[in-house]
Symmetry: C2
Subunit: 394 residues, 2 copies
Amino acid sequence: MKYTEKFSEDVGSFFRSPVREIFKRVDLNAIYSFAGGYPSADTFPLEAIQQTIAEVIAKYGAKAFQYGATQGVPELRDAVAKRYGVPVERVQITSSSQQGIDVCTRVLVNPGDVILTSSPSYLGALQSFRSYRADIRGVAHNDNIEEFQAAYEQMIAQVSEDGKKIKFLYMIPDFQNPSGESLTLEERKMLVALAEKYDFLIVEDSPYRELRYEGEHIPTMYSLSPDHVIHLGSFSKIFAPGFRLGWAIAHPDILDKIYVCKQSLDLCPPILDQYVAAEFLSSGRLDENLKKSVALYKGKRDLLLSLLNEHMPQGVKWTHPEGGLFLFLTMPEGFEAVKFYDKSLDAGVAYVAGEFFHPDGNGKNTMRLNFSFMTEEKIRAGIKLLAEILQTEL
Amino acid sequence: MKYTEKFSEDVGSFFRSPVREIFKRVDLNAIYSFAGGYPSADTFPLEAIQQTIAEVIAKYGAKAFQYGATQGVPELRDAVAKRYGVPVERVQITSSSQQGIDVCTRVLVNPGDVILTSSPSYLGALQSFRSYRADIRGVAHNDNIEEFQAAYEQMIAQVSEDGKKIKFLYMIPDFQNPSGESLTLEERKMLVALAEKYDFLIVEDSPYRELRYEGEHIPTMYSLSPDHVIHLGSFSKIFAPGFRLGWAIAHPDILDKIYVCKQSLDLCPPILDQYVAAEFLSSGRLDENLKKSVALYKGKRDLLLSLLNEHMPQGVKWTHPEGGLFLFLTMPEGFEAVKFYDKSLDAGVAYVAGEFFHPDGNGKNTMRLNFSFMTEEKIRAGIKLLAEILQTEL
């Protein structure tokens, strides 16, 4: 049987993650891996989790193992609503924040519809957008707010000229994946005003928001325009990714469609996991643990920044993330991070080439470095090694 | 903002589950509920689960809370492969067997493509098929195998005449939801031969297969033609639905597409849950617990059958399921199970009207009764009550 003739047209738009392909080539634990977006295993509070699971089973009994509501268990929806100061009817629990991205796209986008994003942007989101055959238009960041706004206005005009419809703008305003950079309050206000003026939605993806190592918290885009923004959150970086839990905060009319879509996707998120997250959150254990994670990651970020300063060859630049898990490296024009893989993986260092994050094919001379996963010792040895092999190339 | 203008065309095809709508109207624990497909909470081995979780955390540590492979953790894939005697490269763990149905449809079906199913068939599958705008063609069961085959041949010819393509046949051969009936070996062979002859796939959905209360196990359709059948399994009825875990067994070329699709859906299934299921399975605890579940459900089925015999008004017929969770009731022609809801829910009895399971709009005089969820005491009182109010109607 020839399966190729059986598959849907959508299959052609499925995009194999290059990050996962790298993971297949090498054992991440055997090399220096700045690839991936894994949190540090040291941040998982094993004892407290086991204790919480026991408490949940004692408290909820069989209910923790039965089917549950498609919107999520009330206890977790309440805890999320309280933590972020939103009405509970605006909270949907998702089976991972990746699912949040996917259902938003499924509910909003027809093939050919335009999704605006920053360029670079999160690869997993681009994967999902492509799978729905969206027309992805990337806009590069610009520190000059007038020029930044003009770039968006120009893109919006272009889309209109093309006879197409912008369904939403996808943004990671806090410690973006991959760049590590954040939008200023002024930039958030500007983008929200554009959404209101040109009548499109914003999908605000905020998995790293609570991992801030310096500076002041900046209001979410959701808080600036609650009816124009779908806010996506995740327990993966503030608790543990293995639970595969996230949330969507949005107008009830949007959540209603997400609800019906989710019914046919997987009926409901995992139940025990939701009760554990709810208990962990409302007992204050999550915040306690988060403090430790922030301290740990701040140390790793500081270390990475000082190592880059010390070892990187001239001509290499990098971002200064105030939080999150990533930092973005820009090599001199002409360098090709994808081609450099063979040399780098042979030497024992993994990263993700920046061009995969660029919907417009730019960024060939960039790479994303993750600083959360490895120990400080491995970060130190890994950066020295990366700098050495880069030196031979530049 | 008018959200209606924002949604994708797909949204129009999203189908709100009438079961869930009933759940919204009434508190299932406060009435006699033969609706839903919940397993009995008495079958969840709370202590053994808690014990297994402790063992998993001791054995795997932080690994149980980190991201994992998109195909599922190797331990669970191995355990499933061993249990069902298939090569491990043919096993994909899914985040619920509902997800299995959904990804198969997404990977195979373009809008307008035909999916053949039995009529009646599982509502959650029909929901998913509709959401991809599939053309669903139902074929009623016929005890005469020649006539049964002829009905399928006729439908296949009709589809060809319509210039359409059959992507797959969706079947629940064991203790079907909603009818409770199974396909004989002869019927399975006949359908598999049709799939081979007319070159379409079969999606074999088998969540109830291991809940057999009498008779001999019948080979899976997958075992009859491993390259033409995608077999879907679920931990929901043999372990606990709260874990939201299932599996797909299929040719690696098909699994490869499901893998890439799943990457953008949710990256990977929940990790701790997978390790717990793997440990539960390979330690023999699952089989031990399953024996108890089968004994419990057999008792409930026997009770339900004898109660129906004793109390149901003349003219009401029902199926004799050899396993599973459901039994199907057929009232005299002219009865309308949907209209009967108001009376029934007011009296305190819930069921699911059979017409929702019929893609062809048939079955208005049928209803599905679940016998796994309620205690024997409630089943007894519930059937007496249902028989009484039916009596006034017939």
